[in-house]
């Protein structure tokens, strides 16, 4: 088609015009884009730069090292030791199933752990390390390390975990730690972020839980660069945290170990308290358990074993177990009467073997009766009727008040779990709790530490220390925190008449040093370490009239859980008391036979700061004692060697 030039010119002019319009529009758009770019990159640059930084920088917490625990001599009780675990990174492993199969030929993998790891793996991004096996031995770790080329994605890793080198000895005192559970988090109003670190350990029971505040420390933080999927690319900087405070306990780990060994397989508790400072030198509950099991995550079978054991290994009998104090309470009744001025130490009571109280007959443990008894004889021979008589004169409220002054029925402030308050009942208490009036019979029962009366071994030890010193000795478990000495528990004088105290102590002295004393067989003959004590045998059942008529059944013929508790409280040396001891053997039978020998051994061990020489024991017992020491040494190689080996 031919076009004439004129037409062409007009067409072309129109095209040029339209091109210019469109070109101008395009330039307008380009200008807008440029302005927008300038606005974002120049005016708003700082704001966007900040957003970019927020994107890429993450704050990660560095868990603090938990404070360590030492005994009074610097022996380690709880430490953070390296623990080895095997981790897998899915994206490096490739064929996860195959790698795990290869690994399981080298290391025994727990089925349960493995299943948990597989679920975790499915849920998390492929670059996150997942723990396959925890608490792996060094041996197994070496095997894995040697075979590393054949195990892609598998790395042995070192972490810190809590370790209790003393094992079961201090389990009840120190407790244990464990990973934070959802339940734990629920208990805390505003949980610290550090608690959300996986596998972060916190105190669960005992001192570990009670002093979590100082033990945990402060978490540090590091700033890391992460990518869009959260993988850490590099560390930018870090602020170190603050380790938890180290705690020195008043406990002597060696002594504690000995006590635990001496209690053996009995269901028993013992407390050794320093009369001068209130330091708890040993505070034992037997049987015990290995706290390390709980740190690792106890198996179902082990846990069931602990919970179904009739001796209740998990219960801390020394502070949370309460028992009728039985005859060990008699010092309280006696002191209350003396302080009230209602009796003199020399006043006698006639014991025919029972006392008739408002129509009911209250029996003395000795059916034939003790005849004329004064305070000294009543303690020495543990006459019940004397105390029925005295208590009825003094009244329960004064007895209860004296018990509380001596540390019974009050909660001692110790950083341990479930410290029991015990019970020193009075009229108001019965009215309040049982909605019933206090009866004379209740007073009679209470006077010999039966009835409602309940005390923990700790309280009994405190009572002994207070009687021994006349001061309000308070127990102390933590000696120093990060080297800062904690207040002493020596206490101020209680304001009791020194003469009255002396009378009571004298009675206790005769218990183990007079031929007619109930614990004469468990005496100490080393002159400088003479012991004063008091036996106690507390009933856990009522003896029915029918039973009494048939003749009292010997303890040995009863099923274990219905036998009497055996108790013994003591202190030594008599002239200058250093240690007070309480021993409770659950369902052990008589205090003089089951508890007193143990208490005597504990005292000697503490006083000699090691295995006592046989010369401290009565001549006739030495052969038996020596055999016992050697036996203990054989069974518990950890404790100090017997005297014969050391000589």
């Amino acid at each position: 088609m031919k076009r004439n030039p004129k037409e062409l010119d007009s067409i072309h002019r129109k095209l040029t015009r339209r091109t210019l319009i469109l070109g101008a529009a395009q330039l307008g758009v380009v200008g807008t884009l440029g302005m927008r770019m300038r606005y974002m990159q120049v005016e708003q640059a700082d704001q966007f730069r900040l957003l970019a930084e927020e994107n890429r920088i993450n704050i990660r917490l560095i868990p603090p090292a938990r404070g360590e625990l030492f005994d009074r001599n610097g022996k380690v009780i709880a430490q953070n030791s390296p623990s080895y675990r095997i981790i897998i990174v899915r994206e490096d492993a490739g064929d996860v199933e195959k790698v795990i199969a290869d690994l399981s030929r080298l290391v025994k993998l727990d089925e349960e752990d493995l299943n948990r790891a597989m679920t975790e793996m499915r849920r998390s991004p492929p670059f996150l390390p997942i723990t396959l096996a925890d608490q792996v031995t060094w041996n197994e770790i070496s095997k894995v390390a040697v075979n590393a080329p054949a195990l892609p994605g598998i790395t042995p890793e070192v972490g810190l975990t809590r370790d209790y080198p003393q094992g079961a000895d201090l389990a009840h005192v120190v407790g244990y730690v464990g990973p934070v559970s959802d339940y734990d988090l629920g208990q805390i109003a505003d949980p610290e972020p550090v608690l959300r670190i996986p596998r972060f350990q916190i105190g669960k029971v005992g001192l570990e839980a009670k002093r979590e505040d100082v033990l945990r420390g402060k978490a540090g933080a590091k700033r890391v660069e992460v990518n869009a999927t959260g993988r850490i690319m590099r560390e930018l900087d870090r602020r170190e945290g603050q380790s938890g405070a180290d705690l020195q306990l008043s406990v002597d780990a060696d002594l504690q170990g000995y006590v635990q060994a001496r209690l053996g397989s009995e269901s028993a508790a013992a407390v050794i308290i320093d009369c001068e400072t209130g330091d708890l030198r040993a505070i034992c509950s037997s049987p015990s358990f290995d706290p390390n099991l709980f740190v690792r995550g106890i198996s179902v079978a082990d846990y069931r074993g602990l919970t179904t054991n009739p001796y209740r290994p998990l219960a801390n009998k020394s502070v949370q177990g309460t028992y009728p104090p039985g005859s060990t309470f008699k010092m309280v009744t006696g002191l209350a009467a003396l302080e009230a001025g209602l009796i003199g130490a020399g006043d006698t009571v006639w014991c025919p073997g029972y006392l008739e109280v408002s129509g009911r007959r209250f029996h003395c443990w000795k059916r034939g009766g003790h005849g004329h008894v004064n305070l000294n004889a009543s303690l020495k021979r543990s006459c019940d009727v004397y105390y029925y008589d005295v208590a009825l004169k003094v009244g329960i409220d004064k007895i209860s008040e004296m018990a509380k002054r001596l540390g019974l029925g009050v909660r001692h402030d110790l950083p341990m779990s479930a410290v029991a308050e015990g019970l020193a009942p009075d009229r108001a208490w019965k009215q309040r709790v049982h909605d019933d009036v206090w009866r004379v019979g209740d007073t009679a029962n209470s006077s010999i530490g039966q009835g409602f009366m309940l005390a923990s071994p700790l309280q009994l030890a405190v009572m002994s220390a207070r009687i021994a010193t006349g001061r309000a000795v308070t127990p102390r478990l933590v000696k120093s925190i990060n080297g800062v000495e904690q207040p002493s528990g020596a206490g101020d004088p209680m304001g009791l008449n020194e003469n009255n105290l002396r009378q009571v102590r004298r009675g206790m002295y005769d218990v183990s040093n007079d031929r007619r004393g109930t614990a004469y067989r468990s005496r100490i003959i080393a002159e400088e370490f003479r012991m004063a004590g008091k036996t106690g045998t507390s009933q856990v059942r009522n003896i029915t009239k029918a039973e009494r008529a048939a003749g009292v059944i010997n303890n040995r013929d009863l099923p274990w859980e219905r036998r009497d508790h055996a108790l013994f409280v003591c202190f030594a040396p008599f002239d200058k008391p250093k240690y007070a001891v309480s021993v409770v053997v659950e369902h052990g039978g008589g205090g003089s036979t089951a508890a007193a020998p143990i208490a005597r051994d504990l005292l000697l061990q503490a006083l000699y700061d090691g295995t006592p020489p046989l010369t401290a024991y009565p001549k006739g017992d030495r052969g038996k004692i020596r055999a016992q020491q050697e036996q203990l040494h054989r069974d518990y190689p950890g404790i100090a060697a017997p005297a014969s080996d050391r000589a």
């Binding site: 030039p5 095209l15 884009l33 300038r38 974002m40 640059a45 957003l51």
Partner: protein, 383 residues
Amino acid sequence: MSYLEHNVKSTPTGVRKILHMNWPLTLLLCSVASVGFLMLYSVAGGSFTPWAEPQIKRFVLGLAVMTVVAMVPIWFWRNMAVVAYGLSVLLLILVEVMGTVGMGAQRWIDLGFMRLQPSELMKITLVMLLAAYYDWLPAKRTSHPFWVLIPVIMILFPTFLVLRQPDLGTSILLVTAGGGLMFLAGVHWVYFAAVIAAAIGLVSAVFQSRGTDWQLLKDYQYRRIDTFLDPSTDPLGAGYHITQSKIALGSGGWTGRGFMQGTQSRLNFLPEKHTDFIFTTLAEEFGFVGGFSLLTLYTLIILFCIATAMATRDRFSALVTLGIAINFFLFFAVNMSMVMGLAPVVGVPLPMVSYGGSAMLVLMVAFGIVHSAHIHRPRQQGY
């Protein structure tokens, strides 16, 4: 005989044609492509694989193809326009029938050595057809309703096919480029006013239809519009792309964070950082200076195309060159608006820079036609 053929003797022949190519334009294209190689190298974390190396190979191939296309006389392309258009439409129908699924929409034809995206091809062949149409059509009839209807159908038919894929971005590009070409050809402005009014009506219809049985767009397309209008409503979901892209761009500042120092792209916060969002990496690492330089390069390409078009008195050459320029302009304008948060995320790559074979090859063919128009322009007075 056509007017062009009268002037054959004055146009260069043989190898000499190469000397008469539009060399400034070629240089600009190489510069832009080099920016692309640099950024692809950077987003791969300082590596030629997996993106920079194939891209360089394709560009070299593209240069060769462009040269070959440039050698062919422009009237051949004019005569081929109908065939090319028909072929594109056929391919579009073919994708509809047997296309493989890519990115949730059927857009590719697998040719074995490369994946062909017919909608890319369509952008150029539509421009060719329209240019040829208006070259053929007597100027007096340009604004006649019947002769306006024909190009409108030419535009809307492939648009409809592309929309069915569904590819909203390319559809809009096709309509806009086609409309732009009609505007250049001199169609009366009343038509455009009417169309714009209708478009406004359509947009309101689209939004009115949302949630009803006859809703016009797919849900994800509505969501994209939503997040464009307010990205903060869904910062981790659909709005994530826009938000992260703006952060990357803005944090570049005046001079950027340095080559391969862009945290947003290096740490994978940017989506599709080697394709649609590659401009954000450039803006993050080289800042306003880098971003504006690229914008300037693009603008210069457009200006050289316009200059080429103005220099020729041949109607087809002028129209096809301008049409290609409009297409190219729409490419980068929409992409940049998108990453700057001025337009919804519609999936338009940055021309010559984004990783991708078929878009680049088609563009190189298009610029080959521009070259051809330039080489074969009539050189005598008194046409």
